[in-house]
Symmetry: C2
Subunit: 252 residues, 2 copies
């Protein structure tokens, strides 16, 4: 049942022979996981490929994996994108990235919100967090993590169906978002959408969705919506086998 | 649209006149939120009651809320319980408590897992985290947070329908859990269930549920299952208005 230790190396699909681990990964293999010559390991490239092989140590720092088996995992049938108004707190940012990987998202785009003072930025640690989460949960794709200068620019470039988290539905019954190959989930920034951003949402025909009458932080709303959307497109196993007795059925 | 600052006080429903804020809350009102005599505030008791009123300051430390309006919110129609094998990390514990409040759970029970070295314990900070989350998101019920000496003891006492997160479904198509007024969601500990615990799960007829082929930490599996179950029973607004085009439909 237990999976061999997973490491990362930026190898190309079809690579044979031996894969050299980057120095940080090599350090982890020898000093943290305390693996030795000949131990079975797995190497992922974050692009859907996984190699199973045996560790080979040469000198103090050169660690290779001798390829025994290769597997490629196709990308998810529906590419999910989280488009989140830039977050102020590093902790919240990392939490969102972890959950995005865990729910099989293909892209995380932080867009510059009008109500946000801090410029959106993506740094090395974002990629590292995504990679560590892949290694931990076994997903093989590291999502693209990028930024957009505004919500409008994100939506113009994305050009596909999307849902947007809102606090008030104002009695509207939204048209469902029909997804075929991709879906964007737009979550507002701390400080909420600006008037201009609301107009943009309207113009692009996003489907409003509500998590009910409570107020959630951006990262919480994002985590909940990612979980619900991933479940709908089949990224989190079969639907939960729960049936509500009539008196408990929320739709009755 | 903005909600007045929320505070906590252990008042009884129907209280009129003035409610005295506990010293920590009084400190927060005056020193952190920097409120003054006459400012509108809200006070919750964590049991479904909310009071709107005006701040009244007497001396340096005595802060009262003069009751203007009272509202009582009925408990959720389905009482959801999270039963989680004790967590080792404080951070994970607090994360689970926050998400349980945010998804409207009524009870969190940490059960002593056979594979867990650390004795399960609930301390003051758990209640504080739950309370802070209530204040932040606007839910009016602080869940009961308790412990059970074993999974078997939890299930014996609970005596109702439950689902249990498993990694392998082994081709089983589970009988749905039928819920009327309550549901338990059982999540395994770090280190997984013991053989004995698996037998207990079988004997109690819990419905196995899977989040797919990936491996999630206990707190992540708990957060995902709480979100999905809360959505099914209507605690997170209407179902997401997403329809999958045939090619994207995971059930086809």
């Amino acid at each position: 049942m237990s999976h061999p230790h997973r490491f990362y190396a930026p190898f190309a699909p079809g690579e044979s022979g031996a894969i050299r681990l980057p120095s940080e990964e090599a350090h982890h293999a020898l000093r943290v996981a305390r693996l030795r010559q000949g131990d079975p390991v797995s190497v992922i490239n974050g692009q859907g490929d996984e190699i199973r092989g045996l560790l080979s140590v040469s000198g103090k720092q050169n660690v290779y994996v001798e390829v025994r088996e290769q597997a490629a995992c196709p990308p998810p049938p529906v590419a999910l994108t989280l488009a989140l108004g830039g977050l102020h707190q590093e902790k919240a940012l990392q939490e969102v990235i972890r959950r995005a990987v865990e729910t099989g998202f293909s892209r995380i785009c932080f867009w510059q919100a009008e109500h946000s003072q801090k410029p959106v930025a993506v740094h090395d640690k974002c990629f590292k967090t995504a990679l560590e989460t892949c290694k931990q949960c076994g997903r093989l794709y590291v999502p693209v993590i990028d930024t957009a200068p505004s919500l409008e620019q994100f939506l113009t470039d994305f050009d596909g169906p999307g849902i947007i988290g809102v606090t008030e539905m104002e009695g509207k019954v939204p048209e469902p978002a029909v997804i075929e190959t991709r879906l964007a989930i737009v979550v507002g920034p701390e400080g909420d959408f600006s008037v201009r951003e609301r107009e943009v949402v309207e113009a692009f025909g996003l489907t409003p969705v509500s998590l009910g009458k409570y107020i959630y932080r951006s990262e919480t709303a994002a985590a909940m919506l990612m979980t619900l959307a991933a479940s709908i497109v089949g990224e989190l196993g079969p639907p939960l086998p729960i049936s509500c007795f009539p008196s408990a059925d929320p739709s009755s």
